[in-house]
Symmetry: C2
Subunit: 366 residues, 2 copies
């Protein structure tokens, strides 16, 4: 059975036309729905307000429609059935939409379509979307059940495998071989297979499990890395200090970057990133430091050092890695990309340091 | 004329059912659209791939529909007209949807409905949504043209007045008295009337215009304030240093918070916020410092100091203001609320310092 769900446009104003349009398209008249009228009446009486004419619009229902009660507002929802098909109209405000969907629409859909849909998410960092797609091209082409779809996030690729089956057990059985195949193809670039685990959570976990403390020294990302990390509950066990050393002066004062390095190589250079990562560990007595310096734009770029050029340095217990990146997009996008790249590099450096696993030479940075 | 626009579900997979459902609901058959078939053929030939059976699904069009060419993908859009009404189906991916809307749908809509719609945004900080609604209740109730609607953002309220008229000049004329009335009612809490100006941009501008440098000292917000500020182009003229002093040790080392204060009053206290704001200016030689300390949760709360308790200190050229806040929601929401409150307090303190204007006693913090 085929179902369309529309949300929004059920309110009292003249712009709220979803119901009217749907009814007109389906050739149905709107009729007064007494219980809804009563509810609106009560709502306004309780608040001692006289409803204006347009409020009664919300009590009109397409003829033959199932009226779905709204426990958190005055606009009811509607299910209009046409044979096996159904058009479902729901209110727009999330605090009305979500409870109504949970309470009334989910059971309705469940009854129409027995069985379940189960998804498995695989989250990848350090590989570009098109590269991941190439790795699993054959799986995408012959997908049926489970289906598989890639979603690009800034600096990450998420794959979602979705199985449809009669029971949860059966759906899991369908998903298992696909998940296994994906893991064997993509390997260490997968940072989690949990839907609600973020890259920053994976990084904090990794550091915590290895009892490592972290200092973040940010120039172009300007607090974005530390802000993402501190969003993780328990980050305080790991994050020693966050320093936004945006000016050259701050880079020298807090991280001991040499005056000569800044003068000869510039603030945006491999050498500066290296000294930032080195100084971050030294001056704050932490185990690990991730440092960024780059040109977020829109000004400040040159032919030699264009907008989007970012150096990221990572110091894990004295071993310093510096990588060069060229990001596209506007200022915010560049900073977001640099932040994701920094978390990715941090994860890879710690993993390599502890497991001696080297990430593939075929590694592609987006 | 009434129009419904649906986006997504036009792709080749079995889950892509928007077109099929719409056609079935409207009692229309799907017919092969030759130019679309040709396009798909070319697309796959160019890439040397054999299309699978399901790809041809994208060449099917509801009978009588206007087929809208997709210049960035293989799924065309459709306009299905029913008398004065129309159902418009568009592809989901933004890089296909947006150009198609701009190129084909906008002109179609414009032709159907001559005249223009113009909006004026008023952005407010430092007042809660329900408080703002009360201030303009009468205007909301008798709205017609322009309409007026409030939108709540974290720590902000945006009002959007929208006028419909035959010409831009006429629409502007309709909007002008409403904007004037809103300004006179809400006054200094309005930080901009420009659609694309953010609170952080307004704050950076204000500091720059007064030639003030800023240090940000963050505990619970953990880099979120500095990250928002540095997103503003030219922030480097204003932002001196950003210090994420999450640990007590860092609060002492970088900001000179006294050991006794931390021991007696605790890290989350009015006194600590005050010393952070004081030390931030002193140790970095800036003019202004905004400092936050609070309990972001989910752990760490107590009866006396519950999760969501945040103190924000603001030091403008030696004059220190500390405010106490109690925010709701999860960890991220609390940090976002504290960040918005910090930017708001910073703005108010600078304005008061320079203009001697005092923000109303009726001020409500959300």
């Amino acid at each position: 059975s085929d179902i369309v769900i529309l949300s929004g446009g059920l309110g009292p104003t003249k712009d709220d036309l979803t119901k009217e349009t749907a009814a007109a398209l389906l050739g149905k008249k709107l009729k007064l729905h007494e219980p809804s009228k009563k509810k609106i009446q009560d709502f306004f009486e309780k608040r001692n307000i006289t409803p204006t004419e347009n409020n009664w619009k919300q009590a009109m229902a397409p003829e033959g429609a199932i009226v779905v009660e709204n426990e958190n507002g005055t606009a009811p929802g509607f299910i209009i059935e046409e044979g096996e098909k159904a058009l479902i109209l729901l209110p727009g405000p999330p605090n009305e939409l979500l409870p109504m969907f949970e309470k009334s629409i989910k059971p309705y859909l469940k009854e129409k379509e027995p069985g379940i849909i189960l998804s498995q998410t695989i989250k990848i960092c350090g590989l570009g979307e098109s590269y991941v797609e190439t790795m699993i091209q054959d799986m995408i082409e012959k997908q049926e059940n489970p289906t598989i779809a890639p979603y690009a996030k800034t600096g990450e690729v998420h794959l979602r495998a979705t199985a449809r089956a009669k029971s949860e057990k059966e759906a899991k059985k369908l998903l298992k071989p696909m998940t296994k195949e994906l893991k064997s193809r993509i390997g260490g670039y997968i940072y989690t297979t949990e839907e609600n685990v973020t890259l920053e959570m994976a990084v904090i976990d990794l550091l915590k499990n290895n009892r490592l403390t972290l200092t973040i020294a940010e120039s172009c990302t300007g607090g974005m890395i530390v802000s993402r990390l501190i969003n993780v509950q328990g980050a305080s066990d790991v994050v020693r200090e966050g320093l936004v050393t945006y000016s050259n002066k701050a880079k020298r004062k807090y991280l001991g970057v040499k005056k000569g390095t800044l003068a000869k190589k510039g603030a945006v250079s491999e050498e500066t990133a290296k000294e930032m990562a080195k100084g971050g560990v030294f001056f704050t007595k932490s185990d690990v430091c991730i440092a960024t310096t780059g040109i977020a734009g829109p000004g400040g770029g040159s032919e030699e050092k264009p907008v989007g050029l970012v150096y990221i340095g990572c110091n894990v217990c004295g071993k310093i890695t510096v990588k060069k990146y060229q990001f596209g997009g506007g200022r915010e996008k560049i900073r977001q990309s640099a932040t994701a790249a920094a978390l990715t590099l941090l994860r890879q450096c710690v993993l390599e340091h502890y497991s001696k696993v080297t990430f593939g030479k075929e590694k592609k940075e987006k």
